[in-house]
């Protein structure tokens, strides 16, 4: 077994790893440094060529005084607080249903995969059509149920937020269900048999056997979902463009608007640093959790 330890192997390993590290450095590490650097400057590309002016932490001070920043942050946290538990509950329900032995398993699997495979932006467009005031199916169902007036879903701030959250829950619960289903299938059947021998009802089995054993899968799924919820962009962008007014604008949309539309890179970078810190906080919680499990 000498060949496993020959020194040329180390060279080969480095050679094989080099492209991955080069690309990660180029697209992740260097940009993170550049982001922090730019956030300390006044860099507006829209007003013609202007000298880059070092402004220290002024962009951050401006952000903290910026009502739009707080509003967008509040929306982002609201969406996170609603859609993460929402997707967990719906996803768990779907996973429990899908865990039954079906004859046509592939139909069930495909139905769970389709929402995952659909682009987020398409979900936004599809559900904007669902929630259309005049021709949407949601209002038609409500009319059949006896609602006197059509609801102006996307034209009213609160309803628009509700519609966006429902769309996000629909889109993300399937992936959640797939992760939880994999966790469910790892629970040994013998545990349920033992519980039955002890006279546990189905309800007790769920609380005493299923849920505790599912906790590791749930934690991982929740943290991933939280990370993506903080970055919510595609669905509100395609459903409402942040409207009416800026009532459904998320932090990601504000960063996009500041940077790409207004070309205010300095301020946009400062906003992005806030986003970065929020995500790092969640990731730190995640890594601690992994450490606990290991």
């Amino acid at each position: 077994m000498k060949s496993w330890r020959d020194p040329s192997e180390k060279t080969l390993a480095l050679l094989l790893l080099a492209p991955a590290f080069f690309l990660i450095a180029l697209i992740v590490i260097y940009p993170v440094g550049k982001l922090i650097y730019t956030s300390l400057f006044d860099m507006q590309l829209s007003g013609g060529a202007r000298a880059l002016e070092f402004v220290g932490l002024r962009n951050f001070e401006d952000a903290l005084k910026d009502k739009e920043f707080w509003h967008a942050t509040r929306n982002t946290l609201l969406i996170t607080a609603i859609t993460v538990p929402g997707a967990l509950v719906v996803g768990l329900g779907l996973a429990l249903l899908a865990n039954w032995p079906f004859r046509y398993k592939w139909v069930v699997r495909l139905s769970l995969l389709l929402p995952w495979a659909l682009p987020l932006s398409f979900c936004g467009l599809i559900f904007a059509w669902f929630f259309h005031t005049d021709y949407g199916i949601v209002n038609d169902v409500l009319r059949l149920l006896g609602a006197p007036e059509p609801t102006m879903w996307l034209l009213n701030p609160s309803w628009a937020m509700a519609a966006i959250c429902l769309t996000i829950i629909w889109k993300t619960s399937s992936f959640m269900a797939l992760i939880l289903l994999a966790g469910l299938q790892m629970i040994p059947r013998s545990l349920y048999e033992a519980a039955q021998v002890d006279g546990a009802t189905r309800w007790q089995q769920f609380w005493q056997v299923t849920l505790p054993l599912l906790v590791p899968s749930i934690v991982v799924a929740l943290i991933f979902r939280t990370l993506t919820a903080l970055q919510t962009f595609d669905i509100p962008y395609t459903m409402t463009k942040g409207g009416p007014g800026s009532s459904t604008e998320t932090l990601a949309m504000l960063i996009h608007k500041t940077t790409i539309d207004y070309l205010d890179l300095g301020y946009g970078s400062a906003l992005a640093v806030f986003m970065f810190l929020m995500s790092m906080l969640v990731t730190a919680v995640y890594l601690r959790q992994i450490g606990k499990q290991a």
């Binding site: 390993a13 991955a20 059509w129 970055q231 790409i260 986003m275």
Partner: protein
């Protein structure tokens, strides 16, 4: 009695899952088949009464949908191939070679996906702009490749680990070099893993919106998701056209997941659970 109820419950469960997953796409399919007059009728019709393929034709003639799809295909395929190439090397080194800190290296690659894309967008925009790469395929291919590295590497590492080392050793005793053994023995055996990783990477790249919208917004360089989202005018929403274009764009991805669903689910849960 008990069997009967559980059979019914099971049917209910299956119907509910299928309805939940398929209905939104089905509804868009119905919308795309209804003629203009039927779409603005109130109360709305559910089933298309006089189906027409007119909107599909218009989706290609009134907007350069084919061109958008072409852009999507180029960007998604090239970034998938590049991810697979880079991830195969990295995964093989991590799974097989005499490497210290292998767990750390894997964690570092996975952690790169933890950075919020929206925060990376600002500097990536700045970099691509100063390099004159805005509105180019490269502007999307490079970031997509990196975005897909973690999941590809995770899937491939576990595939490589499942291949018995003896096979490789036997090939090397027979005179193969290590690279030769990798190419002739390990990669063919890991082909299902490479394929799974490839599907995941392709779907991710095909679906991506934020970078495509921000870096490649010019009409000639839009990918399908961006192009279709921009069908909407200031006040008008050409719903039948959008619906038809959505269905056309969903078809390739729907086919991929329908044909390879078990692999896709395996890859997703591997990437998700271990990540």
């Amino acid at each position: 009695m008990n069997l009967w109820t559980s059979g019914r419950l099971r049917l209910f469960a299956a119907v509910w899952i299928v309805f939940n997953g398929v209905f939104p796409v089905l509804w868009i399919l119905f919308t795309s088949l209804k003629p203009e007059a039927e779409l603005v009728r109130k109360p709305i019709t559910w089933w298309p009464h006089s189906p027409t393929l007119m909107h599909y034709q218009h989706a290609f003639t009134e907007q350069p949908l084919l061109h958008y799809l072409g852009n999507s295909l180029i960007v998604a395929s090239l970034s998938t191939l590049l991810s697979l190439g880079v991830a195969t090397g990295a995964a093989y080194a991590i799974a097989r070679l005499n490497l210290r800190y292998r767990q750390w290296i894997l964690t570092a690659i996975v952690a790169s996906s933890m950075f919020p894309l929206i925060a990376l967008l600002v500097p990536i925009f700045e970099i691509m702009r100063s390099l004159g790469l805005l509105n180019s395929y490269t502007a999307l291919i490079l970031p997509y490749t990196v975005l897909n590295l973690p999941v590809c590497t995770l899937v491939l590492v576990s595939f490589f680990q499942s291949i018995p080392r003896d096979l490789e050793n036997a090939a090397m005793i027979d005179g193969c070099s290590r690279i030769g053994a990798l190419w002739h023995v390990v990669i063919p055996l890991a082909a299902p893993g490479v394929f799974t990783a490839g599907i995941l990477a392709f779907v991710n790249a095909w679906d991506e919106f934020l970078l495509a919208l921000s870096l490649n917004a010019s009409a000639a360089m839009r990918t399908a998701p961006v192009g279709i989202a921009m069908y909407q005018g200031e006040y008008t929403f050409p719903w039948p056209l959008i619906s038809a274009a959505l269905i056309v764009t969903i078809i390739p991805v729907a086919l991929l997941i329908a044909l390879f669903q078990e692999r896709v689910i395996g890859g997703l849960t591997q990437g998700g659970l271990k990540g």
